[in-house]
Subunit: 460 residues, 2 copies
């Protein structure tokens, strides 16, 4: 699209000239996210209130101008990329924690609060916001809600959706809505709140979020179990599920990832013959935590763990978690491009998933790092490639399609945390039937009759 | 409506004449649920498969005949009442547990499996399906999903929605859809699964449900705390929340309820001077459970509990739970009609809610029993009246509206578990804005363009 002078003037007026950006650097910077496949916006606006956002939406809707909302820009599927141009609305000025309500165990926040900052603020009051995507020090809570972010603690605590009680949201046609309430149970009409969570910025513009909090666990303890190979570590996961032990987190790290992060941190993280790790955390009241980790240790030992390292102090726990938290950075050193797929299978089928990953890596001659939320069956499969090598790019594309076909055959899903966005839109039909997609498009039209909000995402 | 001979013949053909009911007793029996305000169906059909249901739906849609789905008939808001006549589709022949998948911790069931039977079956395998509505021995899991049922354990475990991973559902236009997957995380397209949960049979006909299970807790222990008055018991709830103690259940029983159930069971349930009870259950690994109940006891004692009774054996636990489970029956002895409202407030505002209830009971001269899920702020407010006394009926109607206005003013919700159905449809506008209701109606039309599925529910 190209904006008419009238459209442009009306849009800038909605926020004031000081809060519009039109220089080429800004247009491309605000048009690019962690997918690293950007497209310049035609105009970037930085509103401060829902009323300003409503005015922007009404303008865009009237003039049929694409409107794309941007939070922290940390999404892996291009959710905030304006693929059809138009206006990028950055939420950066809606960045306040409005309320931490200790009496009712909830928080009211604006969408651009950084998730980790919210966690720090509520933990200082003895409360806890569990979802912990790897990007939590940079990602905005609004983006977490739009994509339904997960993280290691989802194993015990569930993903973002479990914590969203109420939303203020602006429809693309300009109406400002309130969904849900401050009560933890609510069955009044359709669950618009949960429909907006994970809708990838395509249905409405979230301007305020009411989150359920839980008490901060009295104690946390972490265990690192080292295994001789990935098969034994995966057997450890199965043994834990079979023993009905559900700790707070259950993370798996494969050999490629382990070596990369050891190199990155400049220290050994496990015995020399270890080729896979499990990181398990338990939380709750102290005697319960100790007992849970005893059960975890027994299951890991039975599955062939060659080393067990238990940490209770925060310092020691953080040392163990470094192996996981630094992983994304560490892998970037192995190849110029890391294509990160967050596939998910039924939780007992992680062994079959690793067999598939191994087969794809060998068949297509690709370096693959596969780690992640094994307890949830949600593994981050990273193809590490050189984008300048067209043959490698083509092989990665084939492997990617076969990976998605494989997880669907295992009755899983092509995305557990990152969403479809732009990156996975070509693969939607692998998982969803034509009737389901047609219904979703009718829902989209019920929110956004002119299709102005984040077009080109989920489907093309 | 009256069915044309052609419509009637086509509908009966879809299931076979042996599975259609047209006698007047059946038409009214299948048209009445626990709301006790029925309306006869024009035809009752008992299909066995999704394909048969698809044929029924296509017929009804083509001929614009209302179609109402019926499960266990235990709903309190008239969700299965055919208020505009038409066809009642009873799911009673779709009553099988199709699969209990221990490896992946899930179950696949047909909608008319009785919730309690499912719980027994999975607990025999060391697994656990937490949602426990009071009707669990009679209500169908499909109805639990359609209404998003809760229960005492929702305090720790959440309501039905947290356990529904995937659905097979038939659209009113006949398409058979599959939503979700067997993976515990799934962000592929809009969350149709969660949209259908709690949609009160107005969007689609659920024919198969895939449920997430959790490991059965290794230990459970129950505490009954007796208080001198309701204010002290409510203070006990606040003290627990302030102490950040979150057991598995936190139930509150007021004096009217306590005396009714003591009379019903023919035994004393608490010391003579007790006028309110809390029933608290903790579960998990044994040392954690013991420690949690220690914290609960300390908080209750500080709030003025006059007696604490802890039970760990199943027999003793069941004796404590009898006071709660028999409550609905016991209250029926107090008055010919019990109008049960499942209002909910932010969890810290239970004291304000009890102040409101007390005020309404006095102002309108009504006998009120108010008990329930105090930890969730979800209290069942029962007006106990004689429907033959028109003045009492009118006063109860006024009190009801004031109750709903009061919970909305407390930032709560007019229904936490039972849904809106027919009974609360006149009050929807108290909680939802005109823009929100308009959007919900557009969503309804996206599923059900001719409005044949359960018309007259949620809104009139």
């Amino acid at each position: 699209v190209s904006l008419s002078p009238e459209s442009r003037a009306g849009l800038i007026e909605a926020v004031g000239a000081a809060w519009a950006r039109e220089d080429p650097d800004a247009l491309i910077a605000y048009g690019t996210d962690a997918l690293q496949t950007g497209r310049p916006a035609d105009l970037v606006l930085l509103p401060r209130t829902a009323a300003e956002i409503s005015a922007i939406a009404a303008n865009c809707n009237g003039d049929r101008i694409p409107l794309v909302v941007r939070g922290g820009g940390t999404g892996y599927t291009g959710g905030s990329v304006p693929v059809r141009g138009g206006v990028v609305v950055s939420m950066e000025r809606l960045n306040r924690i409005l309320e931490i309500d200790e009496e009712n165990l909830l928080a009211v926040v604006q969408p651009n609060v950084v998730t980790g900052d919210l966690q720090d603020a509520v933990e200082a009051r003895g409360l806890f916001y569990p979802p912990d995507p790897a990007s939590l020090r940079r990602s905005a809570i609004g983006g977490n809600v739009a994509e339904c972010a997960g993280g290691p603690r989802a194993f015990k605590y569930g993903t973002t959706k479990r914590y969203v009680l109420a939303l203020e949201a602006v429809l693309p046609t300009g109406e400002v809505l309130r969904t849900g309430s401050k009560a933890v149970k609510n069955v009044v009409g359709y669950d618009l709140t949960q429909l907006l969570v994970g809708s990838e910025g395509t249905l409405a513009i979230i301007t305020e979020i009411t989150l359920r909090l839980v008490p901060k666990p009295a104690a946390q303890a972490t265990l690192r179990a080292s295994f001789r190979d990935i098969a034994s570590a995966v057997a450890g996961v199965s043994a834990l599920l079979a023993a009905r032990v559900v700790p707070a987190t259950l993370e798996l790290i494969d050999e490629v990832s382990l070596r990369a992060v050891e190199r990155h941190l400049g220290r050994r993280l496990a015995p020399e013959d270890a080729r896979a790790l499990l990181i398990v955390e338990a939380d709750g009241v102290p005697p319960g935590v100790a007992e849970e980790l005893n059960r975890v240790e027994a299951a890991c030992r039975a599955a062939g763990a060659i080393d067990l390292d238990r940490a209770a102090s925060d310092d020691e726990r953080h040392r163990i978690w470094d192996a996981r938290r630094e992983l994304s950075h560490a892998l970037r050193a192995l190849a110029p491009l890391k294509i990160n797929h967050d596939v998910v299978v039924p939780r007992g089928r992680v062994p079959q998933l690793y067999t598939l990953i191994d087969r794809l890596g060998h068949a297509h001659g690709l370096l693959v790092a596969a780690f992640g939320h094994a307890g949830d069956g949600n593994i981050h499969v990273n193809f590490l490639i050189d984008p300048a090598d067209p043959d490698q790019v083509a092989r990665a594309a084939t492997a990617q399609r076969q990976l998605f076909e494989g997880v669907v055959a295992l009755e899983g899903s092509i995305s557990g945390e990152h969403g479809i966005g732009l990156a996975k839109a070509p693969y939607l039909e692998l998982e969803l039937s034509a009737d389901v997609i047609a219904l979703m498009k009718r829902l989209k039209a019920a929110f956004d009759p002119n299709g102005i909000l984040n077009p080109g995402k989920i489907w093309r």
